[in-house]
Amino acid sequence: MSATTIPTAAVRATPQTHAVNETAVFFALLRRDVRVARKELPFFLVRTTMQPLLFLVVFGYLLPKMSFLGKGYQTALLPGILAVSLSLSAIQSVALPMVQDFGWTKEIEDRLLAPVPTRLVAAEKIIAGSLQGVIAAAFVLPIARLVMGPIPALTLSHASEVLLIVLLGSTAFSSLGMWLGTAIAPQQIGLMFSVIIAPMLFFGCAYYPWRGLDVVPVMKYIVLVNPMVYVSEGMRGALTPSVPHMPLLAVVSALIVVATVFWVLGVRSFYKRAIG
């Protein structure tokens, strides 16, 4: 069967409503997520802080005090804790709503009806998620400093580098959250935490520096597939530059690659879920 020919007159007679400004729509979408995040800020902060706080108390305070761990360990731990906080909250702030929205509430449908490319809706979600990663990092840093006490190697003189790593890391992980949240079946979301997130945290050089893995060379190279390694090492290089760490250039390059790959995968997967 062939498609019906549409009389040109009918098409021409259609009112030419001027195109919607995509930037304006993007910021409207972002405003919605900021509004919702603000309403849920206390829960967000508790969710973001709890795990790092527990780690800080045990590994950054109790164990050093019991002399099970050397003083130097805190220096290695602090950037890692920040990396964990920002990565986890960036993943969760995108993956969980996506699972809910596409799985059962279908609430995102009102945004999918917006007269903008569907990929723009996905991009906005990723950026909103990365902002939450940034906020998590900014919130956990002073808490960490408070719990651990003075850390001699800690310096904020490379603030711009810290910011760069935080932004790249947050974007990489919120993109990953987009990919996971749209590609994984809702029933398997628990599995996502135990099979993907947990190994990522423990082999992400957050709780030990990458150079420390010199003692197990095989591991040192295997962990390089883990994007968390670059966030941890990047934070280490930017916050505690005197501690041995990966070269910043390598870290930044790796994060750019990782963020791009996850972004593409995440947006594509979102599109597939949105348009049946």
Partner: protein, 312 residues
Amino acid sequence: MGPGVQIGGPPGGVRGEIVALKSLDLEVHDGEFFGLLGPNGAGKTTTIGILTTRVKPTSGSALVGGADVANDPVRVRQRIGVVPQRPNPDRSLNVLENLIFHAAYFGIPASVSMPKANALLEQLAISDKAQSKVDEMSGGQQQRLMIARALIHEPQVIFLDEPTVGLDPQTRLSLWEILRQLHAEGRTIVMTTHYMEEADKLCDRIAIVDRGELLELDTPEALKRRAPGGTLVEISLSGAASDVVERVRGVEGVLGAEAQGATLRVYSDRGGRVISPVIASVEDGGVTVTNISLTEPSLETLFVSRTGRKLD
């Protein structure tokens, strides 16, 4: 102005193993209240999905307000408002925010959308809920919020997918009233339903669809006239209806009879008065009658005669 909706060729939405749409070729005019009537699984929701750019057609073409759903979904979305089958408001926002943000997604600033949102809430009799959480609303109120949301950006065409499913009769009636109002305001409305009465009462024209195919397309009056003559008497039997269908055709007052398994469908021009001679004839044929139902000529009898199935 161009037609509100045009569907040309077979927009075949394939989902899983089921071909939802085989071929559907129809045109909706501007300002028309158009109904897609069919049983569950007829392909109505897929059709709406394709027309609202949420499902990609595998072939064929569909135009909404002159824009192609496959090639220019952004322009299509600009022209449509959608009321989903199940209310899906943004539960993180309150009722008024739902409207203001939805307008913002269409590039409309709050200064413009705020008075309009308040007017819509007023018109739909939920203005007292403006600052409420969505979850504090009843199902019918949430459905009305969905209608307000579909109207806030002044679309050319409004799509409603089974808007009254799960609503109590009273809420359904008040929703019908709202839809009549919108139609009277000159809006183009495309609605799917499997309630014959709903399509009959509201629509200017109805497309009867089943298994992804268009069976009939006309005004409700013309369709009812086209329904096979007389009252439909449906008789459940203890045995095969094919054994007795010939005998029954000879009974006076019977316009026609069809056998389907243990069900015998008799069209009568004498209403229920054919029942006793038909029963006598059936029982003479050695089969017992277990159940009888009567349906006046309607969209339902037309549907049954075309598909051999009931609407719901």
